[in-house]
Symmetry: C2
Amino acid sequence: MKFEPVTIKDIAAKLNLSTSTVSRALRGSWEISNKTKKLVLEYAEKINYRPNPIALSLKERRSHSIGIVVPEIANHFFSQAINGIESIAYNRGYHVSISQSHESTEREMVNIQHMASRSIDGLLVSISAETENLKHLQDLHEKGLPIVFFDRIAPEINTYKVVADNYKGAYDATVHLINEGYKNIAHITSSPHLFITQKRLEGYKKALEDHQIPYDPKLVEYCNYGGMVVDEVELAIKNLFKNKKKPDAIIGGGDRITSVIFLLLKNQKKGGLKIGYIGFSNSDLTDMFSPSLSVVRQPAFEMGVAATELLIKLIESKRPITEFETIVLDTQLIEKESSKKRIE
Amino acid sequence: MKFEPVTIKDIAAKLNLSTSTVSRALRGSWEISNKTKKLVLEYAEKINYRPNPIALSLKERRSHSIGIVVPEIANHFFSQAINGIESIAYNRGYHVSISQSHESTEREMVNIQHMASRSIDGLLVSISAETENLKHLQDLHEKGLPIVFFDRIAPEINTYKVVADNYKGAYDATVHLINEGYKNIAHITSSPHLFITQKRLEGYKKALEDHQIPYDPKLVEYCNYGGMVVDEVELAIKNLFKNKKKPDAIIGGGDRITSVIFLLLKNQKKGGLKIGYIGFSNSDLTDMFSPSLSVVRQPAFEMGVAATELLIKLIESKRPITEFETIVLDTQLIEKESSKKRIE
DNA sequence: TTGTACGCGTTATCAT
DNA sequence: ATGATAACGCGTACAA
């Protein structure tokens, strides 16, 4: 048996009416007799008629659905952001289509291309760590596809953006570690061409500077695949400990990197973490680590909400919008055990 | 500026051809002159023509996309399963549309209804903990919509199903705890009307029976919202400790419940976990807990793969399929510290 | 080899 | 108050 939903035509045939009459009845038009309207409505209800959204999309030239492109959904930051996105989209009558780049530029391009081929009205994007060249997005944007970036934004594309205050997040984390008495604070972060990476680095540097600690580039390591590849994180840690000045504390960037670093540090030394540690993470499981993990938390849900509101504004706007803002939401420093000064 | 992709019509007009000729050229038909074909292909390439998938869907009466309905993507079991689903769907030319029920029957129904309204060719479903009545799915299935269940299956609907061996998983976990010397093993699990819950309970009971330990219903607590509501888990634990025979070990069911129990147990008693604990979890973070968590791991990725292969088989089958199998994949017991016998 | 006409499901417009 | 027709983008059976 094939899946053959009823159409307006079926109803029309059954009731000896024209499709237009049925359509009008269904849409509650008043220029129609109450009798016919009732007849149609009752029959439609009975056979459980549902309008075909594909036909509607073709006609209206919009799909009432928005696409999300994120690196990874198995990541609490992104899954929380998606929950925020959904919460708004649903209420506004939009369906949401999620896709993952797995931090690969190629997958990202394919996904975006697929979505952009007119099955979506707009795009919410957080670019992959691997992506350097944004031509594919730039093109779509110029052709008029509404795009809003969140978290992993593309500075060179002129549209709405929503980010956490990564500068402040990193600044706070660094100051916190300094206050706890750490001297050689390292930073293991994501790909250097990501805007968030740069902002975090700036915050980190500024905090050092404000406390008269010289900045040492050797204490900063980058993970080009955002921690998706364990080896790159392992190498980063190894490099840090090769330095003459061994780090006594580390700041980790991003959910994934943060937990991988933790795992590696723990495996490295028996008897628990020996150095101070704090990471950017939205996982709700870090409290259960041992030592419990101090984190910089980003307002993921709220970022999703804000981005979606902007996107829908863009989609539904009658006239072209040319003035764009970037919304910056506050981060939150949560102090637990891992960053406390410990006796050596 | 509006987003107005080029159509076959635009190409035809530009090249002074009919739309059918252009269509044929694009589809590589051989009943066409090489000259025209080349001309069209080159121009199409130049202006970056993409066929409109909505129009195609309307015509072919299929969308080449499949819908996923899961309780929650912020859950490693499901996000891993989704990765498995994507890996297959992608290669077979299907787009994937994800939606979450958040363990609510109502959300689930809305999502399924939305997807089923012909924007998808088939459905992969893992039902919510709250859902008891499956009429909405039953109806769609009877109308011929291809559906495959994975993990949270509906036994009464006759179609393909993919599950982990929850019976064995629970059996193994229970035996392991017994072997470690625990006597009063409790089980905090999901909603009692979920099939997986029942299977796990059976495995748990059988293990007790095989070791001459009487089954005590007071040692089993259910969480109807699958751990989404912390209070229900808190209550479950409270109830267990109200018993005369206080539990000396607990088996947790499901990613979410497992971590919430852990958190609550840890907060409850200062100085670490006092009782034996093991849970069903696919999180990659449980190793970092303290004590590190013993878990029953489900082959989430493989389940996603298997379910998708079956669904596509169902979708693409010429004649109706009436014989359905249920694929059962093995679980894995990973012994860490939390389940080791500890001195009291 | 190329063009014309139709249909997929729906609604807007223009008749009746 | 209701019906007929065109249009959205595409592919194809049929006509030329």
